[in-house]
Symmetry: C2
Subunit: 411 residues, 2 copies
């Protein structure tokens, strides 16, 4: 008898019909003899509606009261699912964050889980009752309701799986799993059977919107096997787990892209200690996240520095950097919002040389100019002109043998 | 410095603009040096929306999970009001039922308040913080969310006022107070300055939908002065309080009516002990509430029995009573849904004879036939043909000098 945590996202509980489908799947899992914990998001659109209400109330509504309001969406779905399960003869009980309890710090709007006390849930599970837990929310030690931030329900599910020592954490979503790349771009994109935590982390933060980054970090830390699969069919999904020998054979697991960034270059700035700090401190203070940063070797004691920010922050960042540019005596500050970041990710890169040069070569063959390069142990990202995004993804997908037709080829 | 509990209903918090108006009033009350506790309902329509969702989930959704779902409406409004107050520079903090805590029994859907622990609220009030409490909800001793049933927010407010020993409980609603009768029927209906708990109880249960009956019972039990007033203007409202000498001078305080009843007569039933029980037990078992019951003296060991039920229950009740009628050898069972109950209420009736005969006389003068009569210490109700409702209300209102133009006349 296994203990399984199942998490269903907003589209999977978007209306009563869909919640009934979720109930069927939950009841089936239960009737197979498993102990089942279900974690739900709010109905799709509901959290946005609640956030919009709070935005009408003031300029910066985030805080204790914001959390009290936006946490209600999940309270509704867990009650409804528990009702439907009960009607089906499958004993169930809803749990809000404070009823579990899921104890967090008091950073309202982006709280971190500190502790989950498993006793209340275990007592129900031992009685054969399905525990239906509100995602996204917790309670601080003063009894205030807190929320974990967008996508927090994934984190709730993984954290519960860790606390309950679950055998598996299933994340049900509107895609069938993690793909070698975006199937909208490459028709022969292949669903991965397995992917390591590290690869998933790189993929999640690089733009594959399947799993929330924080939840993957949690899963890695507590070694929780996570299965990503579709709530609309029974197709097997993708298992996110510890790296195993199998995986190492694959050099590149996926190709990702992100069109949501813009780049800013500070040209011919005097190359002396402290320049980078002068440049980035004001950005941090303005709440602007910087992603890639590239600095070239210097000529004549001057260097160029280029970095990327999200498109949303682009204009604000450019204005700020132009002001700083004057102060640090840079020759010029130029920006370009028409870029995309294309990346290849694979745990096998660690042991395989030459992956980067293959990437650069295949892009060059297509006449795609590389504007920036950034690497980690298991990924290589290139910034290119946005118009080449799809082309770059396709040729890289083919080059590293990721397509359905390529299985069995040397990778 | 007074401690004031203010309760605002669904229409008063129906949208953000209205919640902002509530915030202004709360902030003003606070800035006048009072300690303020605010109790809110859900936005108008929201509880209905939530109930409709639960109804899609099963046939009899009432229970633990139903309460978890429908209690979210109040959680939203208290968070929003606390947000707005904060933006206005008026410190505020929202409290859900379990955060106060408001401890109830476990009768989900119609829980009764058992205890309110005032310490958490008092701590905030002493710091000058406005406490914004969710109406309609509580928590049982096992930590389950409970709801008090429709109109429960009035009860929350009065119970809080009692627990906190508040100086006043203000119920803000969409009418300006308690009127001598329905202003839609009598244009010269007058707002009452004061009304006793007992009069209010009779009026509330007789159809004047201003205050929830349960909340008035609570107010009477704990002697909480309740002011009913409009949230849309600053007009003084009606004070519901202990009967005082002033009141006794007024014989009749108001005329009420109820068109929501139907009557059923069981004719020529053998007059022997146990007949009434035989008749009403099946109705009780079927969950049908019986309001007025009239039994005449018997002739030839036979009697007639007439009673009223709500129009909703009428058909079901009639069918049931016809079955019973056969068993108890009644000659006939007849029903009539086209009736109305018209009542006069007044604490002064206790000490004034002749009120009933004046009522009957004035109705007779208009040719209105009285079908049933029922009296209590401070009210007299007559059942008449529904088409005479407005006429009966108007002539009674005039007869007992209740109109604006009648002030100063003998009452």
């Amino acid at each position: 008898m296994a203990l399984i945590v199942q998490k269903y996202g907003g589209t999977s509980v978007g209306n009563i019909e869909r919640i009934k489908n979720v109930a069927k799947r939950v009841a089936r899992t239960r009737s197979q003899g498993n102990r089942v914990v279900v974690v739900l998001s709010a109905m799709s659109g509901e959290t946005n509606r609640l956030v919009a209400l709070t935005n009408e109330c003031g300029e910066f509504p985030v805080g204790r009261e914001y959390d009290a309001v936006v946490s209600t969406g999940e309270q509704v779905t867990i009650g409804l699912l528990a009702l439907i399960l009960g009607e089906m003869g499958c004993q169930a009980r809803s749990f809000m964050g404070h009823q579990v309890p899921i104890i967090t710090d008091s950073r309202f709007g982006s709280a971190r889980i500190e502790e989950i006390k498993p006793d209340n849930l275990m007592r129900e599970l031992d009685k054969g009752v399905v525990a239906v837990v509100a995602g996204f929310q917790g309670v601080d030690t003063d009894g205030n309701i807190t929320t974990l931030g967008r996508g927090g329900s994934d984190t709730t599910a993984v954290a519960l799986a860790a606390a309950l020592k679950a055998d598996l954490c299933e994340i049900y979503t509107d895609v069938e799993g993690v793909y070698t790349t975006d199937p909208n771009i490459c028709t022969d994109a292949r669903k991965l059977e397995k992917v390591s935590y590290d690869e998933m982390l790189e993929m999640a933060s690089l733009g594959a919107k399947v799993l929330q980054t924080r939840s993957v970090e949690f899963a890695k830390k507590y070694d929780v096997p996570v299965m990503v699969r579709s709530s609309f069919n029974d197709a097997p999904g993708t298992l996110v787990c510890k790296e195993d020998e199998d995986m190492e054979k694959v050099v590149v697991s996926g190709v990702t892209y992100n069109k949501d960034e813009a780049k800013i270059s500070v040209l011919r700035v005097p190359d002396r200690p402290g320049i980078a700090a002068l440049l980035f401190k004001p950005l941090t203070e303005a709440g602007i996240n910087v992603d890639m940063i590239v600095q070239n070797i210097s000529h004549d004691s001057h260097t160029d520095m280029t970095f990327t920010v999200t498109k949303t922050d682009y204009k604000r960042a450019l204005k700020l950097v132009k002001e700083i540019g004057d102060k640090i005596e840079a020759k010029e500050v130029v920006g370009d919002p028409n870029i995309a970041k294309v990346s290849i990710v694979g745990a096998g890169m660690r042991s395989h040389a030459g992956v980067a040069s293959r990437m650069f070569e295949v892009l060059a063959q297509e006449g795609i100019n590389i504007m920036m390069i950034s690497t980690s142990e298991i990924k290589i990202s290139c910034v290119v002109d946005i118009k080449y995004t799809e082309l770059a993804v396709r040729v890289l997908h083919k080059e590293f043998g990721l397509g359905k037709d390529d299985i069995g080829e040397e990778k």
